[in-house]
């Protein structure tokens, strides 16, 4: 124990200040990088806010705790890239609140699951996973197909997201409930309008195969089928990805 430290220990205010200073280093290390977030997130084509139906599906994904077993982050490792596809970009989760990254996988990573399987498969799989995937340990979610999607809360959800920085327009918020219903109904003939409003890559289909109602399964499948499909990884500029 050196002499100067002994002296410091005997000065209450001085010692308190020094503790604060040392402890704040840890805080700065964690917080400072957040101020550079605009530089961390790549500028890539295609990323857009979730449509109301996809957002509703995302909320169901979180409600049912899918994140406990599935990550949505393809890491910068060869094994990950070979199995799941191009590594995840920061830009791809810039409208996620909260993001679904993770390092624990009981099931496979879902960052680029969109389009890998057909809607019919997702419907069968959610209903009874072991019927389509032998040995799967995933629980079944048969009630999703039978539960009508609650669209009333969607404008409020979008408003809340707009407050934390997701660029939803006033029109998008106002028509959220209707937009959600129309995305799951190809007979509504609303595809062009929806694509104008949200982007070319919006998929309009009857996702759960049941034309009678818009179910929670419609929303969840719509969400799963768009995961990782927004960015065309063949068109990425190397400077942007490696900056």
């Amino acid at each position: 124990m050196s002499f100067s430290h002994q002296k410091l220990e005997r000065t209450a205010i001085g010692f308190t200040l020094m503790i604060l200073l040392v402890a704040s280093i840890g805080g700065i290390v964690e917080i400072a990088p957040l101020f550079t977030i605009d530089n961390t997130v790549e500028e890539v084509e295609g990323v857009r806010p979730y449509t109301p139906l996809e957002q509703a599906g995302r909320d169901i994904y979180i409600r049912e705790g899918c994140y406990a077993c599935h990550s949505q982050m393809i890491r910068t490792m060869r094994t990950d890239v070979e199995r799941y596809g191009y590594f995840s970009l920061a830009a791809e989760s810039k409208f996620d609140h909260p993001f679904q990254w993770g390092s624990k996988r009981t099931g496979p990573d879902l960052a680029r699951i969109g389009g890998k399987y057909s809607d019919d498969w997702h419907v069968a799989h959610m209903n009874e996973p072991r019927k389509v995937v032998k040995g799967s340990v995933m629980p079944g979610y048969p009630f999703l197909a039978k539960t009508p999607l609650d669209t009333d809360g969607l404008p409020d959800k979008l408003t809340a997201l707009a407050r934390v920085g997701v660029p939803y327009s006033a029109d998008q918020i106002k028509d959220a409930a209707l937009d959600a219903t129309r995305q799951a109904d190809p007979d509504a003939e609303y595809e062009t309008e929806l694509q104008e409003r949200y982007g070319e890559n919006v998929q309009v289909r009857n996702f759960d195969g049941n034309p009678e109602m818009v179910s929670e399964l419609d929303a969840l499948v719509a969400y799963l089928q768009m995961l990782g499909t927004l960015v065309d990884t063949d068109e990425l500029s190397k400077e942007e990805v490696l900056r």
């Binding site: 101020f35 910068t76 389009g115 019919d120 069968a124 032998k134």
Partner: protein
């Protein structure tokens, strides 16, 4: 406060005293001190050589200029080069020659099985026999013909998938869209049942055969065996959506449009080739 010299250990005391108990001020062992100094220097070196410290609008890049993203892209490319060399026989070969080449089969069959299990088995089953909604791949009945090129095309671009080259195939909703009278639907269902030798009402089936000729034969063929444009063979025992009277009526009422994803961007060319060959090699497994 009295720092003393302790005779037994040869160390000094801290100078603190509690009820006559004094504490030795033994320094950290030398090896631990040096380990600390050396690892600190290594860390410092790391800060200089690798990306480390955020600087507001940027960060220190480090002298090596490494990024994990560049590394992984490089690693993927290197593996690709090795693979291309190893799989040259497959990549340069013609599917029709490869399929009968026993050395090719010996070399690639187990890898192809893993590929199939990872990507295709979710729908078509590990035994390739399909399940409701997803076709059987070992029954020798192919929606788009059994040409290897056709099968490759289907894997590459899918059916009713999201790209310009995809195959298009849809069974119309004859009932829902009122393309046929309900009575005709009933009749044609009986006729379809008769095609595969299932139990059926012969009188209704006879009436249904006319409807079939007018409405169905363009896609399913005059005899119901299909003409290789996506409409299934109705005379065999395998049914994608079920072959009971109820299933057939449901198909006629609401139509069907199966979806096979496109694998062009997900799988490498060589892997798609392996899968085409695998399907052919597995044909014999259909009987067991």
């Amino acid at each position: 406060m009295q720092i003393e010299h302790d005779e037994v250990s040869g160390q000094k005391t801290t100078g603190h005293e509690w009820d006559g108990i004094k504490e030795l001020d033994t320094p950290v062992p030398k090896w631990a001190k040096w380990a600390y100094i050396i690892t600190s220097l290594v860390a410092l070196g790391g800060w200089i050589l690798y990306p480390a410290i955020p600087l507001g609008s940027d960060f220190t890049r480090g002298l090596f200029g490494t990024t994990s993203r560049a590394n992984v892209l490089e690693a993927v490319k290197e593996a690709e080069v090795v693979r291309e060399k190893d799989e040259a026989d497959l990549i340069d070969g013609d599917l029709y020659d490869l399929v009968d080449d026993p050395t090719i089969r010996a070399k690639y069959e187990s890898a192809a099985r893993v590929l199939f299990t990872d990507n295709c088995a979710a729908c078509h089953g590990r035994d390739l026999k399909g399940q409701t909604g997803f076709p059987n791949l070992v029954d020798d009945s192919w929606l788009f013909g059994d040409d290897l090129d056709e099968i490759e095309w289907t894997i590459r671009y899918g059916i009713n998938a999201n790209n310009d080259d995809t195959r298009y195939s849809e069974m119309p909703a004859f009932g829902r869209d009122e393309m046929l009278e309900q009575a005709d639907i009933k009749n044609v269902a009986e006729y379809v049942l008769s095609l595969s030798g299932a139990e059926h009402d012969a009188t209704l089936a006879k009436a249904g055969s006319e409807v079939f000729e007018n409405e169905c034969s363009a896609c399913h063929g005059e005899t119901g065996e299909g003409v290789g444009i996506g409409a299934p063979n109705l005379t065999d025992s395998f049914w994608i959506y079920g072959g009971t009277r109820k299933d057939i009526l449901e198909t006629l009422e609401n139509g069907r449009a199966g979806h096979m994803p496109s694998w062009d961007k997900r799988l490498k060319d060589a892997d798609i080739k392996k899968l085409v060959l695998y399907l052919n090699w597995s044909k014999d497994n259909g009987e067991d």
